[in-house]
Structure formats: structure tokens, C-alpha cells
């Protein structure tokens, strides 16, 4: 292991990590919004929208991100839709993530007893109030593990941004590797960088889940 090489290229990796983290974060935030909207459209059976949401979710969940990115970045410009690499990255990740987030929210909402929603309606809450004060808090508590799992999944999926010629972690490593001689060091740092990025997310997930369990959710005793 050539520690001098590692020391001299650590700034390349921090720059790459920043790209990975930034676009991963944009993607995660947009995915959460899109996922929540899709999920609510389906939960409340909004005409037309629920079918669009359903079709979109099936499409996004059953195709690889790599293929989606190629279509966005190399396919669409040929029919006149030109997007920057950064836009493709965020759109691609959101397209994928929105579907997964929607499924996580849905499992949360489905775990809330129907009587809760009906009781809210009886008390005269508007639909928005019912969602905000009755349904979402309970649904989120159940959905948190799945939501965090999706966040980690999406940040890992950003490794495919390198095909968009973005200088993310993967592309930084690939560039250094092809310039020769230090494959082992390059890959070691790549793995370490993802570990450093994802460890705090994983830790946050564990802490949040533990807090929610103290609150009395999901205490069924099992085998």
C-alpha cells in the first residue's frame, strides 16, 4: 500500500464524495416528495392520478437505473430533449427513488387502522388535516426503517452517475485507476469513501428506529 499516493489524492476523493453526496441528497429529497404524492394519490384513490402513479411505480421498479440513465442522457437528446448531466442524475435518481419511497410510505399508511382515518373524518378534520395530524405521524413511525433503507440504497445507486461523465466518487476512482499503477490504493480509498459516507446514515437509521421502538411501536414478541 502506497500511503503517499493515498495522501496526495485524498482531495480528489473528497471532491468526488461531495458530488456523490450532493446529488444523492437532491435525489433523496425529490424522491421523498414524489413518493409521498404518488402514495397519497393511490391511498385516496384520486381518479386518473392513481393510475398514473401506479403505472409509473411499476415502470420505475422494474427497470435498472443504468438503463434509465442511458435513455435520459444518450437517448432523449436525439429526439430534441437535451438535459445536462446533473439534470439527468437528479431526474434519474428521482424516477427510481420516487417509486421505492412511495412503496415505503404505502406500507406505513396501510399499517394505520382504517378507524383512525374515519375517526378523523367524524371529528370534522379536513382531508389535509387528517393526513397531517392523524395518518402521517402514525404511518411514518412504521415506514422509517424502509425509508432509511431507501436512502442508503439511493446513495449507493449514485455510483452509476459516472456514466453521465460526472466526477462522482466512482468516476474519480476510475480516472485514477486508468492513469495507472495504483489500482489497489484507488479501490481501497473508493470502498473507504463509501463507508465514511454511509456509516452516519446507517447510524441515524438505527437511532431513529430505537427511539420509535421506545415509543411503543412494533413490540410484537416473535420466535
Amino acid at each position: 500500500m502506497d500511503w503517499g499516493f493515498i495522501g496526495s489524492h485524498i482531495t480528489d476523493y473528497t471532491a468526488g464524495a461531495w458530488v456523490t453526496l450532493r446529488f444523492g441528497l437532491y435525489g433523496v429529497i425529490c424522491s421523498l416528495v414524489l413518493g409521498l404524492l404518488c402514495c397519497l394519490a393511490r391511498y385516496f384513490r384520486v381518479p386518473v392520478l392513481k393510475s398514473i402513479a401506479h403505472g409509473y411505480i411499476e415502470l420505475a421498479r422494474n427497470t435498472p437505473l443504468l438503463v434509465q440513465l442511458f435513455f435520459l442522457y444518450a437517448g432523449l437528446p436525439r429526439v430534441g430533449i437535451r438535459l445536462s448531466a446533473e439534470a439527468c442524475a437528479v431526474i434519474g435518481l428521482t424516477f427510481l427513488g420516487g417509486a421505492y419511497m412511495s412503496e415505503a410510505f404505502r406500507s406505513g399508511l396501510e399499517s394505520v387502522d382504517k378507524s383512525q382515518r374515519e375517526a378523523g373524518e367524524c371529528l370534522g378534520l379536513t382531508r389535509a388535516q387528517n393526513i397531517r395530524y392523524v395518518l402521517l405521524p402514525q404511518a411514518l413511525a412504521t415506514a422509517v426503517p424502509a425509508l432509511f433503507a431507501n436512502v442508503i440504497f439511493l446513495i449507493k445507486e449514485t455510483s452509476m452517475f459516472s456514466v453521465l461523465a460526472m466526477m462522482d466518487l466512482m468516476n474519480v476512482a476510475d480516472t485514477l485507476r486508468t492513469s495507472g499503477g495504483h489500482t489497489v490504493e484507488v479501490l481501497f480509498m473508493l470502498a473507504a469513501a463509501y463507508l465514511v459516507l454511509l456509516l452516519p446514515v446507517s447510524l441515524a437509521a438505527t437511532l431513529t428506529e430505537r427511539r420509535l421502538r421506545y415509543a411503543g411501536f412494533g413490540n410484537q414478541r416473535t420466535v
Binding site: N62, P64, L66, F71, A74, T183, Q220, V223
Partner: protein
């Protein structure tokens, strides 16, 4: 112009070439699914074993696949192993190795999850009724575990199929690569790229969607037996 682009797909044997490219990834996926299904069950048992060492190994294994993107693992094996150990694995072998390493741990975790999610009273009631340990396993725990596990395992196999698209990044000539070759050959048709990538997108969807539907159906069908 656009109808010119789409015609590229049906010129000569272009469409067959795409399908052959798809078969390359599917073959990797099928081998991976087979290996992961068998080793995954062993992994799941090891996760629940009394041996601390076995549990620790599984824990570390699981954490590695949780934290490392599959693409990074592919690079480690394809480029790293050659440097570290002098093993020059070809792309397909590296892919099967990496995806099985990943699939085994995911499958094992699903198995463990399915088994441990069975309420304790199921075992206790069976014991109270005088069933032996073997009978409890055979008639009470196994059927419920299978019904929880199978839909999730099917979903995992669609994830494996989707993930095999990554082999393009380690120089395996699969469907995306074939697509690029076709686009290169027909560079005079500007919209060829659009139609080729749209076709690849659709092909993946047509393979994964029915499998996902099956998993969903089974989940609904067996839901009544969960409690």
C-alpha cells in the same frame, strides 16, 4: 425522422443481437439466483446459529454488502483481484462472484426475517398441544416461513436481474453494449439511439414486471395465513 430511427431495430439481425445481449445478463442473473437461493438458506441459518463466530462473520458480510455499491464490489473483484492475487477473472465470472456474494447475504437476511417474524405464540401453542420439536418445525414454522419468504425471494430475483445491467461497466458485451454498437453502426440515423435505449428499457421491464406481479399476487394470496 423518428420512423427512420426505429427501423434500425429491425434491420438485419439487430433485434436478435439485442436479445442475445440481454441473454448474457440474464444468464448471469439465473446462475446468481440459483447460487444465492442455496447459499442464502445456509447464511440465514448461520445468522441464527448459537456460534458467536458464525454470527459475527454473517454480520460483517451483511455490513459489507449494505455499505458497498455493487459497482464498487465489481471493481474490487474485476480490477482489484488481478492486482492483489494475480487472478485475471473475466467479466462474467467476476459478476457471478460479486452478485452471489451479495444475493446470498440478502437472501439469508430475508430467510432470517421471515422466520423470526412468526409470533412466539405459534411455537408455544404447538408445544402446549404436545407437538415434538420436529413436528413444530415441519407443520407450524416451515409453512409460515415459506409463505413469507417466497414473495420476497421472488422480488430479490428481480433486483438481481436489474443489477446485472452493471456488467456493462466491467467490459461484458451485454445488451447496452450491443445497443451502443448498433448506434455506432447506424450513426446516420440520428434518432436510432433513442429507439435502441427505449427498447432496452422496455425489454428489462417486460422481463421484471411479470415476476414482480407474481410476487405481489402470492403475497396477497398468502396474507390471510399470517396471523
Amino acid at each position: 425522422m423518428q420512423d427512420l430511427g426505429i427501423s434500425v431495430l429491425f434491420r438485419g439481425i439487430n433485434f436478435q443481437r439485442l436479445l442475445l445481449g440481454l441473454w448474457v445478463t440474464l444468464r448471469i442473473a439465473l446462475i446468481t439466483i440459483g447460487i444465492s437461493a442455496v447459499l442464502g438458506l445456509l447464511f440465514g441459518l448461520a445468522m441464527m446459529s448459537r456460534s458467536r463466530a458464525a454470527r459475527a462473520v454473517c454480520r460483517i458480510w451483511l455490513e459489507i454488502i449494505r455499505f458497498m455499491p455493487q459497482l464498487v464490489l465489481l471493481y474490487l473483484v474485476y480490477f482489484g483481484f488481478a492486482r492483489l492475487f494475480g487472478w485475471n477473472l473475466d467479466g462474467e465470472t467476476s459478476a457471478v462472484l460479486v452478485f452471489s456474494f451479495w444475493g446470498t447475504a440478502e437472501m439469508g437476511d430475508l430467510f432470517r426475517g421471515a422466520l423470526t417474524s412468526i409470533p412466539r405464540h405459534q411455537r408455544e401453542s404447538a408445544a402446549a398441544l404436545g407437538l415434538t420439536r420436529a413436528q413444530i418445525n415441519r407443520y407450524i414454522l416451515l409453512p409460515q416461513t415459506v409463505r413469507r419468504l417466497v414473495p420476497q425471494a421472488i422480488n430479490l430475483s428481480t433486483r438481481i436481474i436489474k443489477t446485472t445491467a452493471l456488467v456493462k461497466m466491467i467490459n461484458v458485451t451485454e445488451v447496452l453494449k450491443v445497443g451502443q454498437q448498433i448506434i455506432g453502426q447506424f450513426y446516420r440515423e440520428p434518432s436510432a439511439a433513442f429507439w435502441v435505449y427505449a427498447t432496452v428499457f422496455l425489454l428489462y421491464f417486460l422481463i421484471c414486471w411479470p415476476i414482480s406481479l407474481l410476487a405481489g399476487r402470492l403475497e396477497i394470496l398468502w396474507e390471510g395465513n399470517h396471523h
